[in-house]
């Protein structure tokens, strides 16, 4: 199963990465095992988003920058409005990084 490392940049992924970094530097963990944990996180996070999350969001805003490189879209929005059933958030500047979902199904 292919996975993205994309979600490692999320809060939960960064927390895990920091934890693994510290434990590897302590000598508690081997780097190989730490990478295994990260790969498992990629799988688990992707699976959880597919199966456990049902919410829908709409995003509107001014597109400041767009970039498509290596099958990754990067958008930088200004004055973005995020709407969902539960909440509505406005952000002056937000970055969207999106990988190609078709790569996962391969």
């Amino acid at each position: 199963m292919a996975t993205f490392e994309l979600y490692r940049r999320s809060t939960i992924g960064m927390c895990l990465t920091e934890t693994l970094d510290e434990m590897v530097q302590n000598g508690t963990l081997t780097p190989e095992l730490a990478i295994q944990v990260l790969v498992q996180f990629d799988k688990s996070m992707t699976e959880a988003l597919e199966t456990q999350v049902k919410s829908k969001v709409s995003i509107k805003g001014h597109l400041h920058t767009y970039r498509f490189c290596d099958n990754v879209w990067t958008f930088i929005l200004q004055d973005a409005l995020f709407k969902s059933e539960e909440l509505q958030e406005t952000v002056g500047r937000v970055k969207i990084v999106a990988c190609d979902s078709k790569l996962l199904s391969q």
């Binding site: 940049r9 959880a48 958030e89």
Partner: protein
């Protein structure tokens, strides 16, 4: 603030990851205790980040045991820090308290300064400085000024809270430290003894410098590497240097005793002034280290013919041959350098934009895209399975639609 839905998903992800790597930890890895530690730290960081609500309580911090034990701990850890010096990095990490009960008392003591973060950070570098100060003191035989400086630094480092137990340490430290740095002292003493005994050795260096101007060039090459002071005798081809030196010795002693002796005296003056350099150049000290640490190098340069080890011999010709092509590679590198500034500048502009944007945008959406389309300046995109970090909140979505004006 934690959105409960997101937090629930996060907790399930943590549990899922932990459960699925458990076999690896238990069977081939460090064991389940480490796995539990991993989970604990991970969840603690998540709680600190505010994305999940702690199920247990606040992170544990072993404050109570601290003030009672310092006397026992002081003696042990400082030796440890001087021996390794790196454990300071470990000490600074918060997770050490979790390990301390399991492992040796060395880290166990360190959380005491570490429990209070600021003083913990200040005295540790201070100890490192002290250790570095001690080495020159042992070598140069200037005990009093160096010890004073060391005491000063210790006093400075003691300006932090641990001042309660900092004053006693200096005297006990200074006594145990010389034995710790004994290796250095002994090594330099040996160098001096040899310098004192064998006047025959010193014409070696003197003749070596004067006679062989070409040798200096060889010395210059290793000198470029600069870090490996001990490597210099190795890469000179110690065998070559020694053999030529002995020849020079034999030929010159009958003829120029006076000049040699005067030269020796001059060298003695130089020795007295800078005794540190001589042991390195003569190479008596590096020999024991070389035998232990870097035998391959010695065998490469000295005994290529004698040594039949395939592993050892094969790198030697590569190293030798690498010298000439190294020039070519340097040229290539220079060409690359010529090319790089353009690329680097280009990249830097982009990177600056990115960095600036990333600095400004702590809001981030990580997702997968199903479709991205554009009609004139109107962009539409369909995203799925995303994690958004917006306004300090983590929000997950299954699907998202975006409509942007460029």
């Amino acid at each position: 603030m934690a959105t409960s839905a997101t937090g629930m998903v996060y907790i399930r992800v943590i549990e899922d990851v932990i459960s699925k790597v458990r076999d690896e930890f238990v069977n081939n890895g460090p064991g389940e205790s480490v796995l539990n530690e991993l989970q604990g730290i991970w969840e603690m960081k998540m709680i600190q980040a505010g994305v999940i609500i702690d199920r247990t309580s606040a992170p544990k911090q072993p404050a109570p045991g601290g003030p009672i034990t310092p006397v026992h701990d002081l003696n042990v850890p400082y030796e440890g820090t001087e021996e390794y010096e790196t454990p300071t990095a470990e000490i600074l990490f918060p997770p050490t308290p979790l390990q301390t009960p399991i492992q040796t008392p060395l880290p166990g003591s360190t959380p005491l300064p570490g429990s209070t973060p600021l003083p913990g950070s200040t005295p540790l570098p201070g100890t490192a400085d002290n250790s570095t100060y001690n080495i020159p003191t042992g070598s140069s035989d200037y005990p009093t000024p160096a010890s004073d400086s060391g005491g000063n630094t210790e006093a400075k480092s003691g300006n932090g809270r641990p001042s309660s137990y900092m004053p006693p340490p200096p005297s006990p430290w200074m006594n145990p430290r010389p034995p710790l740095s004994v290796d250095v002292n002994v090594a330099y003493v040996e160098g001096r003894d040899e310098a004192d005994r064998g006047t025959s050795h010193q014409p070696l260096t003197q003749d070596f410098f004067t006679m062989s101007a070409g040798k200096r060039k060889r010395e210059d090459f290793p000198a470029q590497y600069h870090n490996g002071g001990y490597n210099i005798p190795q890469q000179d081809g110690a065998g070559d240097a020694m053999s030529e030196i002995f020849e020079l010795e034999v030929s010159e002693f009958p003829g120029r005793q006076d000049s040699v002796t005067t030269a020796n005296r001059e060298i003695f003056a130089n020795l007295a002034s800078s005794s540190v350099k001589i042991p390195q150049l003569d190479g008596p000290i590096p020999d024991p280290y070389d035998d232990v640490l870097s035998t391959p190098n010695i065998y490469n340069y000295q005994g290529v013919v004698n040594e039949d080890y395939n592993i050892v011999n094969t790198p030697a010709p590569n190293d030798i041959q690498a010298s000439t092509p190294a020039v070519v590679t340097q040229n290539d590198a220079a060409e690359d350098d010529d090319d790089e500034p353009l690329n680097e500048n280009d990249d830097d502009e982009l990177d600056d934009v990115d960095q600036g944007e990333e600095l400004n945008t702590q809001h981030l959406v990580l997702a997968q895209f199903d479709k991205v389309t554009r009609t004139k300046s109107r962009w539409k995109c369909a995203l799925k399975d995303g994690i958004m970090h917006i306004n300090n909140k983590d929000i997950l979505f299954n699907k998202a639609t975006g409509e942007f004006d460029f």
